[in-house]
Symmetry: C2
Subunit: 343 residues, 2 copies
DNA sequence: CTGTTAGCGCATTCAG
DNA sequence: CTGAATGCGCTAACAG
């Protein structure tokens, strides 16, 4: 490469450890130690090194470091979506905690597609992350195989399963559906409409609810499925469809966003909630709660899921490469039915 | 779990290029080419390689690849927050497009803190990303210096400045404030209340609005600043404060979330919008628009910003390492005032 | 079209 | 506590 030639401006072709060592008057290895394990270095050499780092504007090359140490200090997070996200709290908590411990986060968006997830997992594994967090517990065989082979901590979140790949943190969507059904039947409801978007976990909640209703003798439940993503508009349209058939006494939604659409549609039809028609959502979107005091919902603690996931990973990292010992941890974060009806 | 005692189970200590080469009966370099530039390889060798890859379960180590080629195929994105995010559309578009072109995205959350941004930039630059996207145009000197020195494409989004580090894509927050003021004054409003959260860009919009009002002879504008993040609750409380002094004819908010709070508070006080009190938001949150047909707002096209940012980066990547030639591109994506008042 | 040689920048051994 | 050798897994730049 041309040394001075046209004298392109201070392009400073990357400063390396060696440059710093030269300036500090020590061996490269000493610089590395001063930066990564300061406790192994005398404080005066430490100072020399830090001065040299500042003087040179050295930025450690983590690719090289990772390659040499096979520790990337990277954690990958795979989510269906970030727009309109009930995962926002989870991600925020996760990223916060990991960043505080010196880990960086690689973000992948699967768009609810198992094949996209598969491609992403492969691409991401190439980056040799120290850990990976996946939303959901339903993955392709190939994905699971790769994950297992990668031999790193894997945390599946926002769901529960009897056979986690490694660790799972979340709650049972079937249980949500079942308990909501029981709760509402106990309150006296008999005539249900169910409105869901086409998202796997939402559908499972709704199907479980319908199944539970059936076991309690309620079989005439109308079920409307809208294409993802959940929007207010989808909620309104779905409501219109449910109402034009045989108006149910209560509409249960797969998410609060949808539920808000129901409320908006109800308002525009001068239907009173919950007296004319009751509405149950999911997710405890704070927006919804404040604007619609009558909206009942199911609260899930997204932030806790994120924190637990981060802590699980960090604990694993500390205990070092434990080999392929999957501990198969299962944490049920639970959920709470929030009944906001004034009745 | 140890199957063969000390023989830890099929830990398959990472398959490398060399293993694949051996299986395929070719040189390592040929494997590399078959994977990265298939057009340079005969199709039968290509096939042998792919078979070997499948047989071995090889996953390329991108750390090593990046180190050797000084191309990481990584793009970093720095945002103030992802919760309650008006950035969601932007990120979605950005990630989608970059992923489609084989780039992965590293996510950093700055929490509106310039010092956190500084630390994050340093950490992220260590990963040698091929490009970086930052929200905002206000950074510490050290951050800018590092970014310039890194000699990679830098895209600043969601704002505009006369001195971009490299490329800037967004709109002028001062202009938003000014035009909103002009618009509302032209409609006859004289008595304003302004409600903002303590977020730099939101404050700039509000201050600009107040300044413009002043130049038009309106100086009695009440200004309430709530701590970030913007929540519905903050909107309600801020409204209460504004109303208890001298109720304004219109309340302008730094965001739609806040505006929804205003609307909720107004509703609970039986105030009619926009007749008793008008409300102007920012961001065109679809939720707000559907639920409150009377909420005026400023629409910004987040998805376009994301797409433009991705395209800018991809174009730069294609044209190769151009050296330190910062083209200083400036793209004004504009904004639109949406007046939903029935008047 | 394919193989060979030589690092990329750092951390893991060991010595001293 | 510090230094020297060695290689992580891959690709650029050449040769053939």
């Amino acid at each position: 490469m041309a040394k001075k030639d046209e004298g392109i401006q201070a392009t400073a072709e990357s400063v390396t450890l060696i440059d710093v060592a030269r300036v500090a008057g020590v061996a490269p290895m000493t610089v590395s130690r001063a930066l990564n394990r300061p406790e192994l270095v005398r404080s005066d050499t430490q100072k020399k090194v830090l001065d040299a780092v500042r003087a040179t504007g050295y930025v450690p090359n983590l690719l090289a470091g990772g390659l040499a140490s096979s520790k990337s200090r990277l954690v990958a997070i795979l989510l269906p979506t970030i727009a309109n996200s009930i995962f926002a709290d989870t991600v925020q908590a996760l990223v916060d905690r990991l960043t505080a411990s010196g880990y960086q986060t690689l973000l992948g968006v699967t768009a609810y597609s198992i094949s996209r997830e598969e491609a992403l997992v492969e691409a991401i594994l190439g980056r040799r992350p120290d850990g990976i967090v996946l939303a959901g517990t339903s993955h392709s065989k190939a994905t699971v195989a790769r994950l297992v082979k990668a031999n790193i901590p894997v945390v599946e979140i926002w769901d529960l399963t009897s056979k986690p790949i490694d660790t799972v943190i979340g709650f049972s969507h079937e249980q949500v559906g079942k308990e909501v059904a029981q709760h509402l039947v106990a309150k006296g409801y008999r005539d249900f409409g169910v409105l869901s978007v086409d998202d796997p976990r939402g559908l499972r909640r709704c199907k479980s609810l319908i199944a539970q209703l059936a076991t309690q003798g309620i079989r005439n439940t109308a079920f409307e499925i809208m294409p993802a993503p959940a929007t207010l508009q989808a909620g309104r349209e779905g409501t219109a469809k449910l109402l034009q058939a045989r108006p149910p006494r209560i509409i249960v939604c797969s998410s609060d966003t949808l539920a808000q659409g129901v409320l908006a549609e109800a308002a525009s039809r001068k239907l009173n909630v919950p007296d004319d028609i009751a509405v149950m959502g999911f997710g405890d979107l704070s927006t919804a709660a404040h604007v619609y005091p009558a909206l009942s919902t199911v609260r899930v603690d997204g932030a806790t899921i994120g924190m637990e996931a981060a802590d699980t990973l960090l604990a694993r990292f500390l205990q070092g490469r434990t080999g392929a010992v999957s501990s198969r941890v299962k944490i049920d974060t639970g959920f709470a039915i929030i009944d906001r009806e004034s009745t």
